[in-house]
Each structure stands twice: as structure tokens, then as C-alpha cells.
Amino acid sequence: MAASANNPLLIEVKDLQTYFFLHEGTVRAVDGVSFNIYEGRSLGVIGESGCGKSVTAQSMMRIVPSPPGREVGGSILMYLRDGNGAAEVVDVLKLPAGGPKMRSIRGQQIGMIFQEPMTSLSPLHTIGDQISENILIHEKGVTKKEARERTIEMLGRVGIPRPQRLVDAYPHQLSGGMRQRAMIAMALICGPRLLIGDEPTTALDVTIEAQILDLIKKLQADLGMALMYISHDLAVVGEMSDEIMVMYLGQVMEHSTTDEIFDNPLHPYTVALWRSIPTIEGKLERLVPISGSLPSPFAVLPGCRFFSRCDRRIPGVCDAAPPPLKEVVPGHLVRCFLYQ
């Protein structure tokens, strides 16, 4: 994280807790997550299904489905900078979720690419209408014609061929990759400071995925925005991010720069994740899966959350008290008793 200190802080998430209150009990989907996002830098978030990656992103946008979900604690500080560099600090969690301030942050300050390009576009409007709608919502005094011009330009930029014509296409006329490009155009049209990609390539096939990843990286560099990239694909996250945060059951297990975490994984969960992916080099071996399965989401575990599946657990220590997140090496945070 030392490398990121050069860039000014954009978002500071401190001890975020987002719970879902269901009939069966309380799901602590995000439980005390803290991290920083710096201008122009990219953060990758990885973890299994249900570990709180998407809920963290949704909390930052305040679009957690409520009820039953609610951000119960912590703060998300956003540094809204104007042209002169003077920053206004806003705690996103203190804003009313449907209020005008929050709506101006969504779309204008933070753009989000959703997972499913097939269903995230309204079937009733042309993609051009849906993209320029963002401009018309957020920027007062822009005429429809100007918005359309900018939409066409953005469509060209995200690699949609013949944008002048396809601006009037309906989503069903486009392929999955084209739709995801349109979604990216929609997320970027207002020039957000942060782009959140919530598994944006999961629904696409591998060749299109590579194109989309290249596109996102290129646009991030061109526009100088920060990127928060959520995925369960380690290779993709490694490709996309400057630093990586490993999450498990709503907690950050390990957080470091991409190089560090690939070269020197410390947490047993991260190590296990690394072991479970095939490598091109070396001889063909049986992959080692992580034993067991996720504990019940309703369970309240007194100790380490990974205890039941950990191969280096210390009975009596790991299941007694939760381990703290500790900076073991400078810029390398680990939540494990092995490194205390």
C-alpha cells in the first residue's frame, strides 16, 4: 500500500458492517471491512460466493436491497474534489439512500458495471436512450442533442462498431459482449472518479472477457479513474489490480499489493486459493480444493471464520477469539494468528 500513498485518497471505508435481517436470523454479510481507494489506482476484491464482495460494493453505492439489508455500522468517507483539488468529505452512509446527494454520487462519482449484461439493460429503450439518460439526470442544461453526441462518442470509445447506427439499437439486437460494452459506456458517460466492476465478465465467454478487460484497463488509464474490480477469478483480478483484498465471510483476510500477494501469500485461505488454480508451468497435478464448505451464513463464530476449513488451524487459539487484521510486512495486512 505504500505505493498508493502518492495518489490522493478517494474513498475511505472504515469498519463497514452491512447485515441482512432475515426471518431465519441475521446474516453478517459485511462485518468490519476497512480499505482505502486512491485516485487512479485499482483495487481487486476476491473471494468465494457469498463472502460479501458485492455487498461491499453495493454499500458504497447505497443500493443494498433494503429491507432486509442495512448498513449498521462504520463509515464510508468519500472525497469529492472539485476542479481546484479542494475536497469535500462526505460520509456516504449518513446520506439518505434515495436523496438527491446520494443520487448525484451514483452514476456521476461512482459508475458501476453490473454482472449480467443480458438483463441489466431495460428492454424497452434503445441503448443510446439509456446511456444519455445518465447525462440528462446528472448534468443540468445539457440538451438531448449534446447528450446524444456524447453517447455516440462514448459508444465508439468502448469499441462498439458503427456507433451512429447502433445508438438506436435495442438491447436484444446486441450480443452479450456488445451489451457489456454498452453497460461500460453507461457507467463511464458522466466521467466517474471510481468505476466498480462487479464481476463484469462472468457472463461472457473467454475471448470476449479478454477484450472487455483490456478495454476497462485502457479506459481506466485514459480517464484516470480508480477501479474496484470484484471477481472470484484470481487470474483476472491479478491482471486488473494494483492491490488485492481477499475476503472470506464478510471479513478481509489478507490485503496487499498484487505482486506481494502473488509472490508471498501468507493467510492459509489465500494459500489454499492459490493451490486450487491450475498453472501452465510445472507438471500436471491434481488440484487441491479447499476442504469443507462455507459455514452457515447465520452462524456466529467466536474465533477465526476460516477455522473449520483451515489446514494450519491451532485448536484452542483460532476458535477462541477472532484474530485481528495485522500489518505483518509493511503494506501487507493479514488476519491470522500464525503471524501475530
Binding site: M61, I63, P67, G98, R103, S104, I105, R106, G107, Q108, M112, F114, E116, T119, S120, L121, S122, P123, L124, H125, E133, N134, I137, H138, R162, R165, L166, A169, H172, Q173, L174, S175, M178, M183, M186
Partner: protein, 385 residues
Amino acid sequence: MSAQESVAVSSETAQQTPIAQKKRSAEERYYYASQRELIWWRFTRHKAAVFGAVVLIVLYLCALFADFLSPYSMDTRFEGYQAAPPTPIHWIRPDGGFQPYIYGLQRKLDQKTFKWIYTEDTSKLYPLRFFVRGEEYKFLGLFKTNIHLFGVEGAPIFVFGTDRLSRDLFSRIWAGARISLSIGLVGVFISFTLGVILGGISGYFGGVVDDAIQRVIDFLLAIPGLPLWMTLSAALPRDWPTLKMYFAITIILSVLGWTGLARVVRGKILQLREEDYTLAAIGAGASDWRIITRHLLPGFTSHLIVSITFSIPAMILNETALSFIGLGIQPPAVSWGTLLQDAQNLTAVAQQPWLLIPALFVIATVILFNFVGDGLRDAADPYQR
């Protein structure tokens, strides 16, 4: 991708070979057709619906131009022609020429039944003329004129007979059509607005708001309709002007009408708000109002149009029923329901069966609306297929 390519292909061929495009096969036309064209094609295939739509348009035009269409005003009394039967119209003149004409009427009191008996006086022949000058009226409320579509000089013509106060029933039916036909549209507009707004709020926000609105609907649906309308309209002051009365009755009829629609809207919104594109719209910073009106409601417009078409005849029937029992539109204003009040007792119906003609108009209108609704549902509503 195929659809996308076909978009491109079609416009490229348009630039290169404009002649080829005109010679598209029927199959090709089908694939290039817009949603609107498809609906139109399916609708026109439904013969009963097309027939219904055409006749309804004619009916509404007749109501609009009622003053011009009817030979007299709705209040004109013809002394000596009480409860006269429809005047027979003859077509072939005694000398063989073709011309529509009527004979003069003679009346005689039946000494046993004290009933007026009307007979044709074949010695007096009055030709039927078109675009004749008659009573002055204001054409569409714009300018004064006295030209009527048809009329007879020298004798009155009663196409549908007269009532007990010797007024021309034909003229009164068209005057009544204005209220009876428009009350359906206005009433449905009001209940549609209420239903969509309240149903939309109920479905979109959920929680306490949803519960509150649903309990109100439950309550309204539990009230028997006719007694409620009777109570409400009995509470209206009798001395209100016609227009005010008209809107009051419309609102009373709409009070119960919106509930069904609100339920439908709520159900659809509940379903659509879980779609990913709704989340994407929230993520883009759109307001609740914008999401409901731009992304949710258009998702089932066709469904709404169909249910509206089916609720118009119900509204017309309700107005007729209310006016029939004397609690709806009040005289001197005329609707089909008030016209039927004259046919309330058996002797009147037995001796002057033509007083039931307004009922035929009500029945015809309702059936025609149902035809159109049926056709629209088959053509436009994807949920019914």
C-alpha cells in the same frame, strides 16, 4: 448478433438498391416489422374487433356531432304528438319515383283504453330532405348554425318515436350518448390515474406503504358497490349544475373502479422491480419517480391498455344503472340511463316499446367494447399468450 447484422444489412441495401427494398417478401416484412406494426397486423386479423372499433368510432363521432345529426334539440316538445310511435319512412313515391318521404300523422283517442292511436294520413306527403335548416344550435360550441343532417318541412319526423312529454327520442338518444359514452372514458381515466399511481407506489416501495394501500383496497372491495354509489349520489345536492353533477357522478363511479387496476399494477411492478435493469437504473442515480415512470410502467403498457378497454363498458353500465334508478345524471341532463327511466313500468313498455331503444344502444356499446378489448388482448398483450 444476427439481429444486429440484419439492422445493418437492411440500411445498407437501402442505400445501394432502393428498388430491391420495395419488393420485400411478406416473410421479410414480418421480420422487419416494428412492435407497433405487429400489433396492428394481429389486431386487423381479428374481424370482430375491427368491426367493433369502426362502429364505436362512428358512435363516438355521432355523439360528438349530435346536434347536427339529430333533427331537433333534446328539449323540443311537439304538442299533439305524445308517445307517438316511430314515424315510418317510405322510399318509393305513389307515382313510382324514388324518394324517402313520410306521411302526416293523425291521432285519435281510443275511448276504451284512453290511449292515443296514431295513423298515417296518406293524403299528406312530406319528403325527407337532407341538410335542412331547422333549430339553431352551436356547432361543437364554436359557431351558431341551423343546418341539420336531415329533416322534414311541414311535419315532424320521429325516427325512434316520442316520449310521454312528446320529445323526439332519436334526438334525445344522441344527446344522451354524449354523457353515456364520455362518462366511460372520463371515469376510466380517473380510476386509471388513481390505480396506476397508488398501485405503482404500493408495489415499488413495499413495506408499510404497500400494506396500507392494500388494506384500503381490501376495504373498498368489501363494500357492495350499488349501495355505496346510491349513498354517495344521494348525498349530492340536487341543485348542482349539470356539469358539476356529471363530474361528481364520474368520481363516485371511479371510487371503486381503481382498485382492480391498482392490484394489477402492483403485481407487475413487484415483478419488474427485481429486474437487473432496475438495479442498474438505481445505480445510475435515477430517482424513484423516474424509475417507475420510465423503466417499470412501460414494461406492461399493452397490458394496461387492454384492461382499460375492458373497464370502459363496465363504467358505462354502472352509469346507466345509477341513472336508471334516478340517482345518476339528473334531468334536464340526458343520458341513456335517464332515458330508460321512462321504461321503468310495465304499461309504458307494453304500450310504447320504442322507449327501450336506448337499452339497445347500451347493449351494443358494451358488446362492441368487449370485441375491441378481446382483439387488443390477442394483439397486444404478451402476458395472455
